[in-house]
């Protein structure tokens, strides 16, 4: 556990040293705030005291932000050779990967945390569906964890951050939108398979305030699969290199 914390701390410090952390938080809040309160179908226009718009904006903006954070997580270690430094210390593959995972997750949580202000503001405006909003946040965190795991997996594939970024966007878009689009245009078994593979289905069901174990199983299986695959790739890299 200590090892995971140390790696996460170092990683988090380097996010903020490189300004990446600040840029992300400011961009995310600016972006989501703009669409939630000011532009287009904003809260006042709809006239309902919920954060559905915020969740929709966050759903898309996190999809782009997360790969840009994870694109360096293992590629940096591979490129700089520091993987050798870490793995010859008393650090296991799992500790390394979980450390990376934790640091990115903390950063995303830090970006989401100030948006609680939106929630509190709503509270004053009208009667709020509290469980829906809380589950919405849980949904965002779950989705973030899935994409972080996917991003870490993609960053274990090569030592190029660009390849990591593009491949995680490429794989991610299938879960994010394409499966949903296929599902909505196909019928029967095919439709339900794609629908259950789609991130959109599960995120929407959670953010509507419906607690369904299926959704959580979906997110956790994505997370575990992503992290396990990255670990296996690192191991095989060291067996053959």
């Amino acid at each position: 556990m200590n090892q995971i914390i140390q790696i996460a701390k170092r990683e988090l410090a380097s996010f903020f040293d490189s300004l990446m952390g600040y840029v992300l938080i400011i961009m995310f809040l600016g972006f989501s705030g703009f669409f939630t309160w000011i532009y287009g179908d904003d809260i006042f226009f709809i006239g309902e005291a919920n954060l559905n718009i915020f969740f929709k904006v966050a759903y898309w903006s996190l999809f782009f932000f997360i790969p840009s954070l994870t694109m360096r997580s293992l590629t940096g270690e591979l490129r700089g050779g520091t993987l050798e430094l870490l793995l010859t210390k008393p650090i296991s593959y799992w500790q390394l990967i979980l450390g990376k995972f934790t640091s990115t997750f903390i950063l995303i949580s830090m970006a989401l945390a100030p948006s609680i202000v939106y929630y509190i503001s709503l509270w004053f405006i009208g009667s709020v569906d509290h469980p829906a909003i809380i589950l919405g946040y849980i949904g965002l965190l779950m989705m973030s964890m899935s994409y972080i795991a996917l991003g870490i997996f993609c960053s274990s594939l090569s030592d190029s951050p660009i390849i990591a970024l593009l491949s995680s966007l490429c794989i991610g878009i299938f879960f994010h939108q394409i499966f949903e689009t296929i599902a909505s245009s196909s019928l029967g078994v095919m439709g339900s398979i794609f629908s259950s593979l789609s991130m959109f289905t599960h995120f929407e069901s959670i953010s509507r305030g419906i607690f369904d174990l299926q959704d959580f199983i979906y997110f956790f299986s994505l997370i575990i699969f992503g992290l396990y695959a990255s670990k296996e790739i690192l191991v095989s890299r060291n067996l053959n290199a």
Binding site: N2, Q6, E84, T88, P90, N238
Partner: protein, 309 residues
């Protein structure tokens, strides 16, 4: 802690980088790995430090196998990888503190260890600089400091002096020698003088196999075959002198080193010395000797001879 390497084999595709290497290093020994580039030194060291898994064979360190207990072994090893990878965007103190914490050094001891390392490795003036701002020599010192910070029993250094200037090389060698008094050290190099200056024992590796294993003295002795003399003779025609020397029974070959200065290289048959016979020949023919020096086989020659076949 003893290191026991048993039949270590590691392949890269069809090529064997390390081919069935076995050796032992006793606690407190300083072992130098010598070999041309690509001989398998780095691969062996990576296996010793639990970074790569060999296909066959095993390494046991302090009784633990790298296959079963890498976590236990890693605690006792300080490893300086070949290209000295460091986090370029951290400053020295933060970086060393991170490594200390990863090694789970108790909190109240960390500060003390940090200052100790900064002092031992001569980083006092630079300690608040970012690592990427440091020259290569200082980065190498940081690499050494991170390898030493948890006071390991075994130190594995892969080419510790590459990229350093001559003064720094001397300093790092001094440091290694000082550390080597208490710890088991394995270092690799393709510079002979370095290994000779720092190591108790030398192992030459080529094409993934151990070719020679012994002290510098033993190596010399082993390679010393025939007596070779550098001989300067004056007082006569050089061609005549040449013929007279060839007539000596114990002389196998005579070569000209410098025709003008009448310098020759005289090689005797195995186990024979021609010194007295040369002297007698000169006296008999009224020549006089201007120079007579035995040519010692240098480690360089041994190295070259062993690794070019």
């Amino acid at each position: 802690m003893d290191i026991v390497v048993e039949h270590l084999t590691k392949r890269y595709g069809p090529q064997k980088a390390v081919d069935n290497i076995s050796f032992r290093v006793k606690a407190g020994e300083v072992l130098g790995f010598l070999g041309p580039n690509g001989a398998g030194k780095t691969t062996t060291m990576k296996a010793l430090s639990c970074f790569i898994m060999p296909e066959e064979g095993d390494v046991k360190i302090g009784g633990y196998s790298i296959r079963e207990h890498p976590e236990k072994i890693k605690k006792h090893i300080g490893y300086l990888p070949e290209n000295n990878p460091l986090y370029q965007d951290m400053n020295i103190i933060d970086f060393l503190e991170f490594i200390a914490k990863v090694h789970q050094i108790p909190k109240h001891l960390i500060q003390e260890r940090l200052l100790d390392m900064v002092k031992v490795c001569g980083l006092e003036g630079e300690k608040h600089k970012l690592i990427r701002e440091l020259s290569k020599g200082y980065q190498q010192r940081v690499g050494l400091a991170q390898a030493l910070i948890h006071d390991p029993d075994i130190l594995i250094l892969d080419e510790p002096t590459t990229g350093l200037d001559p003064n720094q090389i001397v300093e790092i060698r001094e440091l290694i020698r000082r550390i080597g008094k208490e710890k088991t050290v394995i270092l690799s190099s393709h510079i002979l003088a370095e290994v000779e200056a720092t190591c108790d024992r030398i192992m030459i590796i080529n094409n993934g196999r151990v070719i020679v294993d012994g002290t510098a003295e033993e190596l010399r002795k082993q390679a010393q075959g025939n007596e070779i003399l550098k001989l300067g003779v004056a007082g006569g025609d050089i061609n005549e002198i040449f013929e007279k020397l060839m007539d000596i029974e114990s002389v196998e070959t005579v070569d000209f080193i410098d025709f003008e200065c009448q310098l020759l290289e005289v090689q005797s048959y195995p186990d024979a010395s021609s010194v007295k016979a040369i002297f007698d020949t000169c006296v008999a023919n009224n020549y006089y000797i201007t120079e007579l020096t035995p040519i010692e086989t240098k480690l360089e020659d041994i190295f070259r001879e062993l690794t070019t076949h």
